[in-house]
Assembly symmetry: D4
Homo-oligomer: 248 residues x 8
């Protein structure tokens, strides 16, 4: 639309039915987005199949189904995070290839292939109770086109378990560390690898864990230098970050 209007205007100038001054004036009135859209979101357009993400929290199954339907038309894969089983059933009604991960609470629909780098993302988790975040990260990273490996239950209270899996972790291009309670795992791993470590505090814990604040602060204050942090329980965000890096 914007482009059409612009083209028409240029044609008018070309055809002499509009002066350059008139054109200048008119262009100032042009709807902003139409001109700039391409430029700003250029990077998005180039990778066809790039998933659209729906944040499922506080949305009804019907709303999620409607949005999904609209997005399916636009050539993209789809990821719904924080999705209930009911939401999945609603989506499944219109997309038989939709897949539900009940632990990670994700719905994924893969319609297009995305390029997958040869390097891997490794997701390390302190305990089995952190799995709901691991799975959200796993589904996200996979749909975004990455090889992903999981290393679970290697919390620092039994540090030999971690060392047994160190080689796997050190081979990654990016490491996601998922931990609740005191979240010390991020610092330990940050000191053992020379790759970017993205730390995800989880809300696992009780008492003075304050729903993940303890782990969050631990990770922000990590004395290991290569650690950056995302929001509590934000497996999606960590995987998205990791995927960007893995595709560099």
């Amino acid at each position: 639309m914007g482009n059409e209007g612009l083209r028409a205007l240029l044609a008018a100038v070309q055809g002499g039915t509009m002066t350059t001054d008139e054109a200048m004036e008119k262009m100032k009135q042009f709807p902003f987005e139409d001109i700039d859209f391409a430029k700003i979101d250029h990077h998005r357009a180039v990778r066809q199949g790039y998933p659209e993400v729906i944040y499922g929290e506080r949305k009804t199954p019907e709303q999620i189904r409607t949005i999904t339907q609209r997005l399916l038309a636009s050539q993209s894969n789809i990821l719904v995070t924080r999705a209930s089983l009911e939401a999945f059933e609603a989506v499944h009604g219109i997309a038989k290839d939709a897949v539900y991960n009940p632990l990670g609470r994700t719905i994924t629909i893969k319609r297009f292939e995305v390029p997958i780098p040869s390097s891997t993302i490794v997701i390390v988790a302190a305990g089995t109770s952190d799995l709901y975040v691991v799975e959200e990260a796993y589904e996200t990273a996979t749909l975004l086109g990455n090889k992903v490996e999981k290393v679970i239950d290697v919390g620092v209270a039994g540090i030999h378990r971690l060392f047994g899996r160190l080689e796997t972790i050190q081979k990654a291009k990016v490491v996601i560390v998922v931990a609740g309670m005191e979240g010390a795992l991020a610092s330990v791993i940050g000191g053992l690898v020379d790759k970017p470590v993205i730390a995800v505090p989880t809300s696992v814990g009780y008492g003075a864990s304050f729903g993940g604040i303890a782990a969050l602060l631990t990770m922000l204050n990590s004395c290991a230098s290569g650690v950056s942090v995302v929001n509590i329980d934000n497996g999606f965000g960590a995987a998205y970050n990791a995927s960007i890096i893995n595709h560099l």
Copy 2:
């Protein structure tokens, strides 16, 4: 004193100059402390030479000197914590054997021998910036009659350094772990030893360490089971605890 009064009263009853009812009545008026003092503080009396502790913060050098002078009369060793150099100089004027630890900010005066168990307390610290707490703990534990060993700069970001000193740590009867920033060291050590671990968060750090809160929360939420925690920067409290355990 209280005991004298009580004895006199009993003698009066015995001698018939006071009825039992009168005695009952009088005893209700007895100064509370005199009767109970012995019982409550019995344990204190038995270990002659046990140090008296003066919390030096917010006290003037003169106040500290005065209190010290009074306490020296009562057969005890003396520990002043959070003491400035000025405070030390004031104390040194009246006690030439007073010793100042400028890093730990302690003044110690040792006049009496205390029994020293054969087992050791090991103080482990994450970084050299935590030394001011280590030294406070060291002076306290030493004056209380303990063999103390220090293991410094073994933070989790370079975990091999810790492993190089593991044998020393595992030989302790009690371990004090001192760490600021994210405080993860307590969890790691808690998982490696089967001795009581007393964790001291320090106020070392910046930004979201919030003056030691991050380390405090980390330690309280430790997924290792043998860890208990004292107040931020409370090297004295940790050593006091450790000494009680070491003397059991």
Copy 3:
């Protein structure tokens, strides 16, 4: 396993089928854990029957049953904390000797005898509403092999009640103090005994108790020197600590 591999390698060197250089190279590839496991976890192996602990929160009854089944095979007693009645029923299906403490929300399975020291752990609680933490601590300490005594409802607002039980408390080798609301009990007891006091703040209270923060801060700031603190409602952790000390 790791040991077997290592022995085989040494034999090959001995037998001349492998050069020392080749052996050096191979040993660098050795799975870390296998070498170190024995050393690090040595202390665990020595006390057969030592319980395995399952943190029941966020685990389904099925998950808990499965883990329990696996652990029963490994010669250990079992403790499940934060266990629902449903979890107990699932476990009971496979272990008829499992015992449920509904107040403490623990499942215990005792298959092996553990040595019990002659000294006692005393658990002191401010109010009857703190009992859920007391019971968790009690079950934990008992299964870990300790004589445990409970002193309940001796909060500081009626301090004579506490004094009536003082002798019991002073005879303990370790004291666990459980208190919610303002948590002042820990300081008072800390001043009355010369044994290690492990304080557990509880989430009992309302308004500005903030789910246990008030009691936690009170205990961390205790002016009595022999007090250390564990996480809010962490009866298990307190008992674990106390047991380590009681077994020293």
Copy 4:
């Protein structure tokens, strides 16, 4: 003034020089304060000599002197809280009978006698470091016309000291409890007396005392029923409250 205007208006109505409607209209324009002042502040006027209070923080010595001078004209005693030595010197220049309490940081000028009830206010403090608040409370209560007694250094870590002074405390009509660190003293005293207890948390402490928050929360959550609380370090407010009660 307001009263005069009102009387004049009524006289005009009475004299027939103003209609009731005109009077109604005029009364709506009456300055609010003039009518209500007497009523609202009536209680203040009745007690001549009642001190005027100047909050000295963030005020220059000159400002404090000026305000003092103005107030001295109005028949009242004067209390300056949070006053520096410089402020005192400025005030002393215009009022030779001004008295400075350097610990409590108060300036008092007593020009008029106020009635003093026969009952007493007792101020109890946990430690000598809380004295700056005790003194502010003492000066305030004294100037407001009260008999005040101080009981210092009876913190709960050595509870026998408190019991030795219990009789004094129990004789008070109102008790002010001043404590920092964990502030447990208020609960203990609240359980021992049946008089109103006003608790003042102090900012004495370190680490997780957070400038008095720990003591504040302790006091707000006191399990003893007769305790109410004022702001951190607010010795003035506690004494003001206590004085109102003591004069009932």
Copy 5:
């Protein structure tokens, strides 16, 4: 009991069957509570009919009924706070004169008359949503033997409503101010009366009221001098305080 033992001992000394030294020794072993009970709780005994209070939160109806039954035997009135309807029904089964206040969530059983002073307690509340706290305070104060008046819905956003009730408020001997949201009412009333004002923050509000913290801070920082504060939603504590003062 304790007294009997003591009397027996004195008789033995009197009768010459026990030396004073033996008596001294024996007295140190005396159960603490028995001696001190009378002294410490003397004040309680004197006012027969004084209610026993049961904090109903986290207690089952059965527990509450059992405790009630036991207390009814001891000559006291009974107050259960935070009581559910189920708890009431359980209590009603054993005490037909039990009364339930569903808004204040209190159960009261009045068996004995208590003296009622001629002065009144006035409870002022900002809004109708604060009524649940008002009612808890009202029931408490009434059962403790007080004339109580309620002034509701006079929040500062429509301050003329407050002024319309000012005379009632100013006649009180003690004023309880109940307010949620921003809690400004306490300051305004504190400036209008010269009686003790006990402020109760409520958890009414949303967003940045943080469950009553906003009102709590407002009240603690009140610029009016006669205001002291109790815990959030603690209508019981405020009334208990007010009653102590009203009975002075």
Copy 6:
């Protein structure tokens, strides 16, 4: 009423049946509100039809119906905020023209026309999950007599969407910005318009959004100068503010 009493009193003075002194005395007893009501709330009376607002939280449907009924008698439109469907049904029983907005949880009854300025209020929201606040604001502003436009889903993560709607926003007389999560939208819009911007943080988000605190702090710290803030989720308050400004 108050006016009638006052008029009667003036008539009595005029008629000589009351002295001015008697009148003075009586006037001091006048119910405060009656005199002042007109003056203070004058502004309210002038705009007949101005809605009465009922805060529906913590009120039963019956209470809401009763209050509504009473208010309908007083010539005003009615707005119930935070209303449940049950509340609506109760109100609908007595007012068939009541309208429910289930997303905004408002009940509105419009009986009287209010003047509507020609300028508009624009409500801008970052995401569709913020709609519940948008709708509350929309209903409030509309009932208060304003033209309102909504611009939804223009969060800063896709800033071109915002620019596409900029002209609409810049034409407003007042802008309400509704945003959760990080709340950055307020700053961006504050920098793009020269109209008052009222920012409403929402509780949308998870983890470290802390129920709206993150967005609240963002908005309070906005580096754009024309932004002021209301409470979390307070769509009503924002609209009320905006309406006052729009009617200036």
Copy 7:
């Protein structure tokens, strides 16, 4: 520049030396800012003389002087906030008409007249210690072209003082309320006027005022509907807001 480039491009199209397609392509490469600058900041350009604002905190006097010098060239008045005396002296060296307000810590340079509406902004402050914020607001509002009136020391603890100034306040078009401690003044005024009230919490207070948080929360939770809030101590922001509204 951007405009020149655009005009040249249009001329090339007009002259036939560039096709419309080529032009379309080229325009996508255009530097963003050049096109949009005028549109976005149009509103700024129209009011010549509009002040440029320099936030003086963390800037050296030299930096402030340099920026000032540059800005003086651009036809604007200048306001420096949070300026030290040293900063003023540096600025005064290059602008003899610079004026310093030491209390408000502002430097103002007025070179151009700005239109002043006939309506007024009234700044109301609770206490004299809030004056530093009042003055910053006053200087800002004045330089932005407003009639400003100040009403000081009308805190709610002596509410009659406020009522004496009510008429002045009610005549304002916008009211700024400045208050520290408990900040209740905003609610009271919000209930008394029907104009926009912009509340500024100040950091005046101690203890649980937490550097202004108490007042901030009070204001955010105000039960009066017309109140919005700016950052703690942000007199500048409040005045900027008020000025925008006053110029509507």
Copy 8:
């Protein structure tokens, strides 16, 4: 060393002077670190010249000089962060090529070349007051071997400034965003680039910015997906992260 010992042991086995069992036993005694050091820190050794980092806070100039001297011997470049001018002077005394950045408070000594990728890191900052963090990040990234570009003063309140620099930002391989106050810049940039964005909250701001917490929360809650966060003011950590990614 460790390797030598191990080789000797293998030789002994090979030579038959040690049985495999004896070798097994001995290996368990091996100093841990010696075996693992190479493996764990292998990645460090490979990049000769890699800087050693000294955290300068709480270290005396003498301590910093001593550490620097020791490290200079080990073939590495050196970075001191949080360094005072005094620290620099001490270091400069032993290393004439040391360079001080007074704004960033860094000392850098570059003795060895490190490989520099062709891609760039761009550091974007909201305001000039954030420069101290920008400079720390800049010095760190440069010494670690990166091309770094700075884009300053493009805060969201004047968003056209950001758009004018967008092309530069979009060309980066990694973007560091530095912002204080409300920290909204990270979200806006996160939505405009498809590269990893590392956000650094700064402590710039006042009032409710709480020393950087506001910006920290904003960044953690960013609705843009590619943003991860480091500690407040942690320019070093951000640059370290960015450098790892840039070298991938």
